[in-house]
């Protein structure tokens, strides 16, 4: 199945800063975050000529393609509900710390947790100390407010500057039990955000990813990563980071003023083989 995902940054009427910014009056720059995989391997060395993009059905001219050079603004949104008590919460803490240690100096990270309550433990920072310290002190208690958490977390920009790529990794082992908002609201917030969303699920060996996780990841341009046991989390978090490093940022300029509302975007490969994962579109406020 072909999946699309995309991280889009839009700025209308003012200078737009992106990976390789080009600003012209009356032009809106759109930046797309896409992963190209051939099986389990990332496809490398693609150029602007390898991508074909349509925005609301109109073919766009790809102006720049960059890979692995833009710093990440990472939001770790972690489930700390009581079902994670014992080994899973310890494994989650280790996996998240390992991921943070794998970030580059110019990357930033923030940490939020959710059970009944959603809390911002560490605001976006390059300093790893407070993040590692917070991750060492996770406690599993309470129900699961994942819908509310996703909406609230997506309203926190994890980036420190507009050049950064906003990314959110959501970790959960369960289903929502205590949110006010429903799953549709979480997906709607994902569609209206420019943050790339990966979902890491801790599932039993026989359980597959939930529809909720799949729809959320699809709306956020990322993937669902399923762990059969807590012991797999560290490996999985490393794979997520590797995937983030191998994604392409594709920029194109939208001629004229961007119409408000939903923009349906399709990304295709030309002269290369691979499966593209990108956001299905982006939303412009009316």
């Amino acid at each position: 199945m072909r999946r699309f995902s995309m991280m889009v940054a839009v700025m209308i009427g003012t200078a737009f800063v992106c990976a390789q910014p080009t600003f012209r009056s009356g032009v809106s720059m759109v930046r797309i975050d896409a992963s190209v995989m051939n099986g389990t391997n990332a496809v490398a060395r693609l150029t602007a000529d390898n991508f074909s993009i349509t925005d609301n059905g109109e073919l766009q001219k790809v102006e720049a393609v960059t890979r692995d050079t833009v710093p990440l603004g990472l939001m770790l949104l972690l489930d700390t509900s009581e079902s994670l008590g014992g080994e899973p919460i310890a494994a989650l803490s280790n996996a998240a710390r390992s991921l943070v240690n794998g970030l580059r100096v110019d990357d930033a990270a923030a940490v939020m947790t959710f059970a009944d309550q959603v809390r911002l433990l560490v605001p976006p920072a390059r300093d790893r100390g407070p993040i590692l310290s917070a991750l060492s002190d996770l406690h599993a208690v309470g129900a699961t407010s994942i819908n509310d958490a996703i909406v609230l977390a997506l309203l926190h920009e994890p980036t420190l500057s507009p050049e950064m790529r906003p990314v959110m990794i959501v970790f959960t082992d369960g289903r929502d039990t205590s949110s006010w908002l429903d799953g549709g609201a979480a997906q709607q917030a994902a569609r209206r955000s420019r943050t790339l969303i990966h979902v890491v699920e801790l599932r039993g060996l026989t359980e597959s990813a939930t529809n909720f996780s799949r729809d959320l990841a699809r709306a956020g341009g990322g993937r669902v990563w399923s762990a059969g046991s807590a012991g797999e989390l560290r490996k999985l978090f490393t794979e997520v980071l590797n995937e983030l490093r191998s994604r392409y940022l594709i920029s194109y300029s939208y001629q004229g003023t961007l119409p408000g509302g939903w923009h349906d975007v399709k990304v295709k490969l030309k002269g290369a083989r691979g499966e593209i994962t990108a956001r299905p579109g982006y939303f412009v406020s009316q």
Binding site: M112, D116, Q117, V118, L120, L155, H156, W180, A209
Partner: protein, 355 residues
């Protein structure tokens, strides 16, 4: 034989010694406990009682509770029941089931206010009614505290207790309906993969919402002026997409609501209905109203931020979300998150033991 006698002698001596130690340790415990009761009756809050009994093992508290039950002083029993209710509520969301032991003490102390069957006949109907009402109230507050931390199972146990004392109370019937509604929301079809699982989730959700609606209607038959039942009925109708009926019921409920928690719930439920009707701007106003009443409610913050986002005001939505998630919370969130905790009933109990 000599060995056996010697062993028995040593054992008896040990037990005697232990009893002496227990007596010297427990006696001050009872004094401390009674002082805590007196302080609570004099108006000290739950924090003071929590501090006094902090670090006590369940056995130590159990001893004091037993002593109060044996003394059978109705006033002391009621005060102790409400104090334990306060402590259980104060800690119920901090650790899993942390309030359970205190709620159990509260329920047992309240039950001990009932005279022995032999002398019940000699009591006035008014006195028996008062005792039954007290027991129903205590167990209703316990149920609402469990619901506030999403513990449906223990909430149902407490509701059964409350129903035992007040089978035809609108408040208790409403609580039973709320429990069905809370449980129904746990069955979200989108969370399931297989069609069979999704169908089962939808069926269960629908069944529980119908049950909840019936309970709210029954509560309104028992007491047409019971505002909470009307508000919850409107919510149950809205959750079943019966929007026309929900709108009428919720507006009636809102107009009759006087208590802050009822006004909060009216605003939340109307906000949700307006989102369903795609009137996001009006929903935003309702959610702001809810936040004004309970600023610490996560439900109100999430609903408000989402409505702001939908109406295109992303900057305001960000501000709402950031202020809440970054704030240091020094209070019991479970009292405010959902509006499920019955703060009015708790207040009535406080006033009763502090008269």
């Amino acid at each position: 034989m000599r060995l056996l006698r010697s062993t028995l002698g040593r054992t008896t001596a040990s037990i005697a010694a232990l009893l002496c130690i227990a007596a010297t340790r427990i006696e001050p415990d009872l004094d401390v406990y009674r002082r805590a009761l007196a302080d609570y009756a004099a108006g000290q809050g739950a924090v003071s009682a929590v501090k006094t009994l902090a670090g006590w093992t369940t056995d130590r508290v159990e001893f004091c509770v037993q002593a109060v039950i044996l003394r059978a002083d109705a006033r002391e029993l009621e005060t102790a029941a409400v104090m334990h209710l306060e402590i259980g509520t104060a800690i119920s969301g901090s650790v899993v089931d942390s309030g359970a032991a205190y709620f159990d003490f509260a329920s047992r102390l309240a039950a001990a206010t009932l005279p022995a069957p032999a002398i019940v006949g000699g009591l006035s109907a008014e006195r028996i009614d008062r005792v039954n009402a007290f027991n129903a109230m205590v167990n209703s507050v316990i149920a609402s505290a469990y619901l506030a931390v999403h513990n449906v199972k223990l909430a149902r146990v407490a509701i059964r207790q409350a129903q035992h004392y007040r089978p035809k109370s609108a408040a208790v019937t409403t609580l039973a309906g709320i429990t069905d509604e809370v449980e129904a929301l746990g069955f979200d079809a989108d969370m399931w993969e297989r069609v069979s699982q999704r169908t089962a989730a939808l069926r269960q959700r629908s069944k529980l919402l119908v049950l909840a609606e019936r309970e709210f209607e029954a509560a309104l038959e028992q007491d047409p002026a019971y505002v909470l039942a009307r508000l919850r009925l409107g919510r149950a109708q809205s959750l079943q997409n019966n929007l026309t009926a929900a709108r009428a019921t919720l507006f009636q409920g809102r107009d009759a609501a006087r208590e802050p928690r009822h006004r909060f719930l009216a605003a939340m439920f109307l906000g949700s209905l307006l989102v369903q009707e795609r009137n996001v701007e009006a929903a935003q106003l309702e959610y702001e109203r809810a936040r004004t009443i309970m600023p610490q409610s996560q439900d109100a913050v999430a609903a408000s931020a989402y409505a702001e986002l939908l109406s295109g005001n992303r900057a305001l939505a960000q501000q709402t979300a950031r202020q809440y998630t970054s704030a240091a919370l020094d209070d019991a969130w479970w009292i405010y998150k959902t509006g499920l905790f019955d703060s009015e009933l708790m207040e009535q109990l406080r006033r009763r033991v502090r008269q």
